[in-house]
């Protein structure tokens, strides 16, 4: 079960991990985009990491909504609206929860991923963050459905996200900036799928 503190640790861990990997993310984006994914995500996640110090939150959903709004307001590009929408939608199913277990988190994760699909209109195989998030959601549901706890289900989700991320390498991009490269986008791991995996891995470390 994860409480508000655990969710704040999640965001803090996301920020630290994005910080460490900002150059890698920009390098991946340099190959098939316009070389700003790392700096944009770093700016947004560090603003989110400061929220807990600036404000007292009364609930998990209020906190996650603020995280979503902060990402929308600071990241820019396509990642701002996409990750912003993810956290805003994630908040919905957790409205009444003080302690989140695998069932509630599964519902929230589904809402978040569906939010990204609604905003970005991406499908599996388009070489986007959805290619990491969709298998993560599936693995989470499978693990929690067979009785695993939140932490264990997130471990499974993180592993599936990483596999999904790796699987974007040979794909030809059909959405976003990378799509302009056409066939030449193949052979490069997608930066969005990479940052999405960072988010899920951070959740696996903090939400238990």
């Amino acid at each position: 079960m994860a409480d508000l503190n655990a969710f704040q640790s999640w965001i803090s861990a996301c920020s630290a991990s994005i910080d460490d990997r900002a150059e890698d993310l920009t390098e991946l984006d340099r190959a098939i985009g316009d070389a700003d994914h790392g700096s944009n995500m770093k700016r947004g996640m560090s603003a989110c990491a400061q929220l807990a110090e600036q404000e007292d939150f009364s609930s998990i959903d209020a906190y996650l909504k603020k995280v979503g709004m902060t990402l929308v307001s600071t990241v820019g590009g396509a990642s701002g609206p996409l990750y912003g929408t993810f956290f805003l939608r994630l908040a919905g199913p957790l409205a009444a929860s003080e302690d989140v277990g695998p069932r509630e988190f599964g519902q929230a994760l589904r809402a978040g991923v569906e939010g990204i699909v609604a905003r970005g209109k991406a499908e599996a195989g388009d070489k986007t963050m959805y290619d990491a998030l969709a298998p993560a959601l599936e693995a989470f549901d499978e693990a929690s459905g067979s009785g695993a706890g939140l932490g264990e289900s997130l471990q499974a989700a993180a592993q599936a996200a990483a596999e999904g991320r790796d699987a974007t390498e040979p794909m030809v991009a059909r959405k976003g900036r990378a799509s302009y490269l056409g066939e030449r986008s193949a052979g490069h791991q997608d930066p969005g799928a990479t940052s999405a995996t960072v988010l899920i891995e951070a959740a696996a470390q903090t939400l238990t």
Partner: protein, 333 residues
């Protein structure tokens, strides 16, 4: 990286502050929201035009704020779209009661952020219409892609529709004219070098000394192919032919011909290119009603150019000729 910078993180705000200092009679700058606003905004009863996008394309868009063109421009980080808060602040600041037209280039981030801002503006009771430019023929448009990029036509559209708004046309008429301009305009670009995004610190892509990239967008992001460098006449043909063909331009039709520099190519070379473009249009029997040559929608210091052709009607030419008074474009009374 060798650039005139203090801290790469401050480049956008410092550029805006410099711009405000350079044009005190024309512009106001909101440094919190990173907006460039017409000094006299909001203009009561006039449709307001708001555009914006990543920085690094100057003079687009901030340089086109002023009488006869944009009412406000939202400056994103370098090559990164602005965020909804900024776009909403711009929309609110310039609404003179006749509604606001958002001019959005078809890049995924720009489209999403402007959509979110338009939803927020509608909730605040402001009438907003959006037009998305997608004139780049280098990109195959299909249901399964992000679609064509908005590039050079954006400049021509901001001038033409800006004039229509200035002469008192209503929001629906401005939006309809904007869509017509977008439908009748096409572009294609090439790069000779990459550019360096300040925050990234090194060139976005590699091109050998004897190579060029055909079909680029305005971030140096590649398009169709990397090819051996060729003489200007051959490059002009590689740019003009797909545009002519995509627009199905026929003998006797009229265009505005726009040769745009990407930031690192001198006017000397742009005029060489324009000469070649004009010759190709003459051969095709297409009349150049008006022309524009220079650095208007750039990619930092990237060398290269784009060619835009806009099939024009009488109203578009009248609006093109109307007076404009902005830092980046100025003519007439």
């Amino acid at each position: 990286m060798k650039k005139l910078l203090n801290d790469p993180a401050d480049v956008v705000v410092e550029a805006l502050a410099g711009m405000a200092a350079a044009h005190p009679d024309h512009l106001r700058v909101d440094l919190d929201h990173k907006l460039v606003l017409r000094a006299d905004a909001p203009v009561s009863g006039k449709v307001a035009l708001v555009s914006g996008g990543g920085s690094g394309h100057e003079p687009l868009h901030g340089g086109f704020v002023g009488r006869g063109m944009l009412d406000a421009a939202c400056a994103g980080e370098v090559f990164t779209s602005p965020v909804p808060d900024q776009i909403l602040a711009a929309t609110t600041a310039v609404d003179g009661g006749a509604g606001v037209l958002h001019v959005v280039k078809n890049y995924t981030g720009d489209v999403m952020n402007f959509e979110m801002a338009a939803e927020l503006a509608a909730e605040a009771g402001i009438q907003v219409e959006a037009v998305v430019t997608d004139d780049d023929v280098a990109v195959q448009d299909s249901l399964f892609t992000a679609g064509r990029r908005g590039v050079g036509v954006t400049v021509l559209l901001e001038k033409i529709v800006g004039a229509a708004a200035e002469e008192g046309q209503d929001l629906a008429a401005c939006a309809a004219l904007a869509r017509r301009v977008n439908e009748q305009g096409r572009s294609m670009g090439i790069a000779l070098t990459s550019c360096t995004v300040p925050a990234a610190g090194k060139p976005t892509f590699e091109l050998a000394e004897d190579e060029m990239e055909i079909g680029i967008g305005i971030h140096g992001e590649p398009g169709r192919s990397t090819e051996k460098l060729a003489p200007a006449r051959d490059i002009a043909a590689r740019l003009v032919e797909p545009v002519l063909s995509d627009l199905s331009l026929k003998r006797g039709e009229q265009v505005i011909a726009f040769v745009n520099g990407m930031g690192g190519t001198p006017l000397l070379e742009l005029y060489v290119m324009y000469g070649e473009v004009k010759r190709l249009l003459d051969d095709a029997g297409v009349t150049v009603a008006r022309s524009l040559v220079g650095n208007y929608i750039t990619s930092l210091e990237m060398a290269g150019c784009s060619v835009t052709l806009l099939r024009v009607d009488e109203e578009m030419v009248r609006c093109w000729d109307a007076p404009v008074d902005t830092p980046g474009l100025r003519w007439g009374g």
